[in-house]
Every structure is written in structure tokens, then in C-alpha cells.
Amino acid sequence: MDTGAVIMLLVGVFGLWGTLTASVWNFLRRSAADVRDGTGES
């Protein structure tokens, strides 16, 4: 594959899926905290 294409593939993968992973991580942390506080769903 073209080097530029590989670099943009990595940009897409880390940019989009990296941000998604971080936001899902936030969601899980928040859910776990809510369960501990007794204010959220289990």
C-alpha cells in the first residue's frame, strides 16, 4: 500500500476509534460510579 494511504489509515483508526474508546471508557467509569452511589442502573 501507498505510504500516505497507510498513514491516513492510522489517522482514521486512531482518530475515530480512539475517541470512541475514550468516550466509552468515560461512560463505563461514570456507570460504575453511579452504581456505587446507588443512583444509576446496574
Binding site: D2, A5, M8, L16, F27
Partner: protein, 516 residues
């Protein structure tokens, strides 16, 4: 898991009396999957890959990321906050913002329903092709099969040509599936369907990508998709394409996200949910692009031509190029076909359900109907109109309506929304406070600047470009009468009906929330 997520008391036993309390999502995950299901539609699979290819390849990712951060996610958060704060479908949510703005909600619902009239027909085609995949029943010439045998497309715009019965049958099945999901309610219908269909959809696309990447020619396909042309970034059209892509892809301006957020519990994290839904949608379409271009590379290798000669988008990609690819597969052709059309089916169905739900909730609140009655009325009327596209001339009408609704209706709906909230009603401050009360990611100056300046300016530029192009070039050389009736006419009639609906029962007080 918490059960019985309803507000204002116990759920009525039959679930459809006026006194029924409003239903809520069963879990936050359910809301996120349903919202992602709404955003992830057919366009993610058949439009996005071509947009990337056509606008600078890999370099397109730069304006695309900027558009996500400065327009799509901010507007998504805005719509979540509108629905969540006012706890109504779009018409009454806008009426709570400003009494004279109810029409905007009806206009958004009207545009959504017009989209639904043809979207469901495409889902019907997908259902047929899912069946045809078993044994590759489209034969050796998928182009002739689709436009000839299957659609029986007439040779001129106003030749309606009668109903195509096999298309009507599959569209009826698509309507039945949508209706059944809606009738089961928010939690047992929409949320449950999303919890099953969205993970299945992601797995199916992953399987397509993995299979695609192992085929000969895949690397050439990915090169064509991703090799960056940074010179394209100097072209204003590429930036407009990026903003257009994220705006259409995120289901904003449809009234859907407003009603979905109105079903959230009172204390909910809105901004992080918007980022998850937005990035889930974008991550999915990027994955789909890798799958589509790897198999297009394979098709080009099999035919001994360049990849650019086989690149297609939309209907041509799904119903002509993909059947060709499936025909060329070295093995398990039917399984690959079922995976592709199954993925399209799941993506389309979850979006269709969300489009109908925004209308059902709006009609139910306005006319104090039970959920069942509102579903029967909205699905019944929309289903009847959708028969227009099941005729042999239906493809022409679909093409014109789709162009005008997207290029003018949706852009106007989104532009009016941000101008109303940011400039006329000046509600960004109160909404920002509402979002930040319970959200992990706090919105600040970037959110305000995006909604006050960037989004309105970009949408205005898009509207101006689209109007200029429409005036200077007649679309697809269709007759002017066709463009006036099916294009401008439908958008203007929808706007007129929105104002009529605003005037109906305008002196009645708003219910606290649906059914209260």
C-alpha cells in the same frame, strides 16, 4: 438493571390510553445504541466511502474531523439538551423555546416522513436482495436485472407504469417490521431492537472487512480510497462536502435526536452520550469504507481494470456493483451477499424506526392520542404515500425527492434550528447549564462558537451553493415540471403544512410531558 422505567406513575396495563405516563429508555446503553442505530443508516455504507474517495481521499479526514468537532457533535448535544430539558417531541420542544416556533418541529417531522416514504422502499429492495443473495439470483448482469427485471424502470419521468408487485411485497414486509418494533414501545421495541441489531450490524461489517482485506486487489482499493491529495484541502467544495457528510450522517435536523433524548431519565450525561453516538457513527462508516473499497479493489482486479473504473455510490454500489462482486467471489458467494444485504437491512431498519418515532411522538402529543393510534395514523399515511415509489417510474421520483429534501429541506431545518436557539431565543446559556449539570464532558466556549457562528455560516454556504447549482443546472435533465412538483413543490408544501399544524389547537396548554 432497573426495571419499569416510566415517569409519573405506573405504566398503564394496555399501554395506549391517554393517561399513560411517558416511557423511558430501560438503560443508558439502550439509548446510546438506539441513537447510534438512528445515525447509522444506509448512507454510512453506500455514501460515505464515495465522499471520501471523491474529496481528496485520506486528506478528507482532516476537514471531516474538524466538521465533527465544530458542527456535528455540538448540534447533536444541542438536540439532546432540547429534548431532555423540555421532555417533548420536536414541535412542543420548540414551542417551549418560543411559542411561535412550533412549526419548525413540524417541518422537521415532515421532512423526516418524506424521507421515510422512500427510505422504506429502499429497505424493501434490500430485503429482496437479501433473498436473491441465496443462489445469486440476479444472474450475470446485475445492472439489467435491477433496473429491468426488478424495478422495471420506465424510460421517461412521467411514465408511472403501474405498480411493481414484487417490490410492493418486500416494501410491505419492511413496513410490517417497522410497525411491529414501534408498537412494542420505546423500551421493549426500539431499545430491544437496537440492542440486537446494532451489535449484529457491527459484526457483519467486520466480517465483510476481514473477508474484503483477504481478497486479491484489496490493497489497490484501499490506496484509491486513502491516498491523500492534500491539494484538495484548498478546494472549498471539499470542506462543504465534509460538513454536509457529517450533518446528514448524524441524524441532526430530523427531529429524531430531540425525541430520543426526551426519553432519558432526568439526570443523564448528555455530552458524553453525544460523543459516543457521534464517534460510533463515524467509526462505523470509516470501517464500512475500508470494506467497500477493499472489495471494489477485488472487483477491479477480477475485471482487469483500474479501481476508479468500478467505483460507485448509492443505489449503483449496493444493487449493481455489490452483486457483481458477489458473483466474482471465489467461494461462499451467498453468505457474503447475505452479510452485505443483512447489514444494509439492519442499518436501514433502525434508522426507519427512529424516523417514525419522532413523528409518532409529535402527533401523539399534539392530538392527545394513544401511542397505538398515533402509530396507526402516521404509519398508515406514510405507507400509502410510499406506494408512489413502488411504481415503475418510482426511481425517478425517489431520486428527485431525495435530492431536494436533503439539499434544501434538511439544510433549512438545521439552519432554522441553530438560528432560533442561538440568535432569536438566545437559549444557549440555559441549555449549556442544563447539559453541564450532569455531564462528564462539560460544554463551554467551543460549543457556543460552533452553534452561533460556525454551523450557521457553513449551513448558509451549503444552502447558497445548492440553490446556485439548482438554478444553473437542471438536475439529471429531468423535466422542469417534475422538479417543480416532486422537488420544490414537496419542500414548500411541507413548510406550509408545518405552519397549518402550528395553528391547530394553538390555544391549548402544553402537557407537562407525553400523556401527563
Amino acid at each position: 438493571m432497573r426495571s419499569g422505567y416510566v415517569e409519573g406513575g405506573n405504566m398503564a396495563a394496555d399501554g395506549d390510553t391517554l393517561a399513560e405516563p411517558r416511557e423511558l429508555w430501560g438503560t443508558r446503553l439502550g439509548f446510546i445504541l438506539a441513537a447510534a442505530g438512528s445515525a447509522i443508516g444506509l448512507g454510512n455504507i453506500w455514501r460515505y466511502p464515495y465522499v471520501v474517495y471523491d474529496n481528496g481521499g485520506g486528506a478528507f479526514l482532516i476537514p471531516y474531523f474538524i466538521a465533527i468537532a465544530t458542527a456535528a457533535v455540538p448540534v447533536l448535544i444541542l438536540e439532546y439538551s432540547l429534548g431532555h430539558k423540555y421532555r417533548h417531541a420536536a414541535p412542543f420542544a420548540f414551542r417551549r423555546v418560543r411559542r411561535s416556533a412550533e412549526w419548525l418541529g413540524w417541518f422537521q417531522i415532515g421532512i423526516s416522513l418524506i424521507i421515510m416514504t422512500y427510505y422504506i422502499v429502499i429497505i424493501g429492495w434490500v430485503l429482496s436482495y437479501f433473498y436473491y443473495s441465496f443462489g445469486t439470483r440476479w444472474g450475470d448482469d446485475p445492472n439489467a436485472f435491477f433496473f429491468g427485471s426488478y424495478l422495471g424502470t420506465t424510460d421517461s419521468f412521467w411514465s408511472v407504469g403501474g405498480v411493481q408487485w414484487k417490490v410492493l411485497l418486500s416494501v410491505a414486509v419492511a413496513w410490517a417490521l417497522t410497525y411491529l418494533i414501534l408498537r412494542r414501545g420505546v423500551r421493549r421495541g426500539i431499545e430491544l431492537a437496537a440492542k440486537i441489531l446494532i451489535p449484529a450490524l457491527v459484526l457483519m461489517i467486520l466480517a465483510i472487512v476481514i473477508r474484503g482485506l483477504t481478497l486479491p486487489g484489496a490493497a489497490a482499493g484501499l490506496d484509491v480510497l486513502l491516498t491523500p491529495d492534500f491539494g484538495a484541502l484548498l478546494d472549498a467544495q471539499v470542506w462543504v462536502a465534509a460538513y454536509g457528510q457529517v450533518f446528514f450522517s448524524f441524524s441532526i435536523g430530523f427531529a429524531v435526536m430531540i425525541v430520543y433524548a426526551s426519553y432519558l431519565p432526568r439526570r443523564s450525561d448528555l455530552s458524553n452520550s453525544a460523543v459516543i453516538v457521534g464517534m460510533g457513527n463515524s467509526g462505523f462508516e470509516f470501517l464500512a469504507a475500508l470494506g467497500v473499497f477493499s472489495v471494489l479493489g477485488f472487483l477491479a482486479a477480477q475485471q482487469g481494470v483500474g479501481v476508479t473504473e468500478v467505483v460507485e455510490s448509492g443505489v449503483g454500489l449496493a444493487f449493481v456493483a455489490f452483486p457483481q462482486i458477489i458473483n466474482e467471489m471465489p467461494g461462499l458467494n451467498s453468505l457474503f451477499g447475505a452479510l452485505f444485504f443483512g447489514a444494509l437491512l439492519f442499518a436501514g431498519l433502525t434508522s426507519a424506526v427512529s424516523i417514525m418515532e419522532c413523528a409518532v411522538a409529535g402527533v401523539r402529543e399534539k392530538f392527545r392520542l394513544s401511542r397505538a393510534a398515533a402509530i396507526n395514523v402516521t404509519c398508515g399515511i406514510t405507507a400509502l404515500i410510499s406506494i408512489v415509489y413502488v411504481t415503475r417510474g418510482g426511481l425517478y421520483y425517489l431520486d428527485v425527492v431525495d435530492r431536494f429534501v436533503n439539499n434544501f429541506g434538511l439544510i433549512f431545518a438545521g439552519l432554522a434550528e441553530v438560528i432560533l436557539i442561538a440568535w432569536i431565543a438566545r437559549q444557549l446559556g440555559p441549555l449549556q447549564a442544563h447539559i453541564n449539570r450532569d455531564s462528564y464532558l462539560r460544554v463551554g466556549w467551543w460549543w457556543t462558537v460552533s452553534l452561533m457562528v460556525i454551523t450557521p455560516v457553513l449551513l448558509s454556504v451549503m444552502a447558497a451553493i445548492n440553490i446556485y447549482q439548482e438554478i444553473t443546472h437542471r438536475y439529471e435533465d429531468y423535466p422542469l415540471s417534475g422538479l417543480l412538483v416532486m422537488g420544490w413543490g414537496i419542500v414548500l408544501v411541507t413548510l406550509l403544512l408545518a405552519f397549518v399544524l402550528q395553528r391547530l389547537r394553538r390555544r391549548e396548554e402544553l402537557p407537562e410531558s407525553i400523556g401527563d
